[in-house]
Amino acid sequence: MNDLWLLIVEFMKTGFFAVGGGLATLPFLHEMGAKYGWFTMDTLSTMIAVSESTPGPIGINMATYVGHSAAGWPGAVLATLGLVTPSVVVICIIANYFQKFKNAKIVQMIFAGLKPAVVAFIAAACLNLFVSTLLYAERGISNGIAELFNWKCILLLAVLSGLKKIFPRVHPIAFIGAAALAGIVFSF
């Protein structure tokens, strides 16, 4: 019982103070491990790896994992609910005001500046994914440039892009499924 309360409180704190997305919760998880002994630092890196390789936003996955290792299924549910409660409250309040003020001139000016920046954030996330998927950055260029590229992945990218051009209406989920299958069949 005690652990469940602690989980809710700690994750509400995390949800409230971790600003900027899932990975911003990491320092808070570190602290929880050190403070309550719910998991070791070794398990934390397993949790990150699993969170990255399973469906769902990384931040939520990590919260669920920590909650589960601290207190089983109830822990998983409560940690996740704790994490999302502050953002639901804050966003509902903001959404209410945003509706009223979004036509104000100054707000429009601010968002005219924010839009290109958001495109940049998405592009940065995409570039990082590109580097980790299409390149073997850790190999360096000592063995020649060609060694640096993950040719299998680049070929798959070309095939998928071609398919997307031919069948633009196919659901993104179908591409994700097909690519997972290709990854398994051709052991990427």
Partner: protein
């Protein structure tokens, strides 16, 4: 009631097929939220992302809450949020109790590599779409370039980048270089 159920199931689906953080979700959001249900326009999703970036919590959750709130108020926000987190709770819960070495399994690593390639492709498409709609003049391009370089090469928190971009938005709009509708 029907809308609440739709919010829950649509966001459940989006949560189930998102690999990575909130931004990797964009291609599926475009398909489900914008094209299928018409719950928001692309412009509005950009606004939600910008706000979600500098408010507490996970960006995917913030976006879900926004979309849900504008459909059905607070209950709508909660339904969408519960939808987007449900797959995580189920899947991670199962993995944590059954397969602790999940991430090391070879088949998982192979599948994930393929999935990452698909996400790359879908994100390029999504960004190309956004580019056409959002980067229409030199001033917008400059904000894009500054934000991209700072987020790639400095450890500067995105909160500061959002504040900087908002400030630039005001200054460049006042001088007439940046158009706002």
């Amino acid at each position: 009631m029907k809308v609440l159920l739709q919010l829950y199931t649509a966001w459940f689906k989006m949560g189930l097929f998102t690999f990575g953080g909130g931004y990797a979700m964009l291609p599926i959001i475009q398909r489900e939220v914008i094209e299928k249900y018409h719950w928001a326009t692309e412009d509005e999703i950009m606004d939600y992302y910008a706000i979600g970036q500098c408010t507490p919590g996970i960006i995917a959750v913030n976006t879900a809450t926004f979309v849900g709130y504008y459909q059905k108020g607070i209950i709508g926000g909660i339904a969408a949020t519960l939808g987007v987190v449900s797959p995580s709770v189920i899947i991670i819960g199962l993995i944590a109790s059954l397969i602790s070495n999940f991430a090391e399994l070879e088949i998982v690593q192979h599948a994930l590599m393929g999935i990452n390639v698909a996400v790359c492709m879908l994100m390029i498409q999504a960004i190309a779409n956004l580019w056409k709609k959002s980067i229409k003049n030199i001033a917008a391009f400059c904000i894009f370039a500054i934000a991209l370089l700072l987020s790639l090469f400095t450890g500067l928190s995105t909160v500061w980048l959002v504040i900087l971009a908002g400030g630039l938005g005001i200054v460049l709009s006042k001088t007439g270089w940046l158009k706002h509708e």
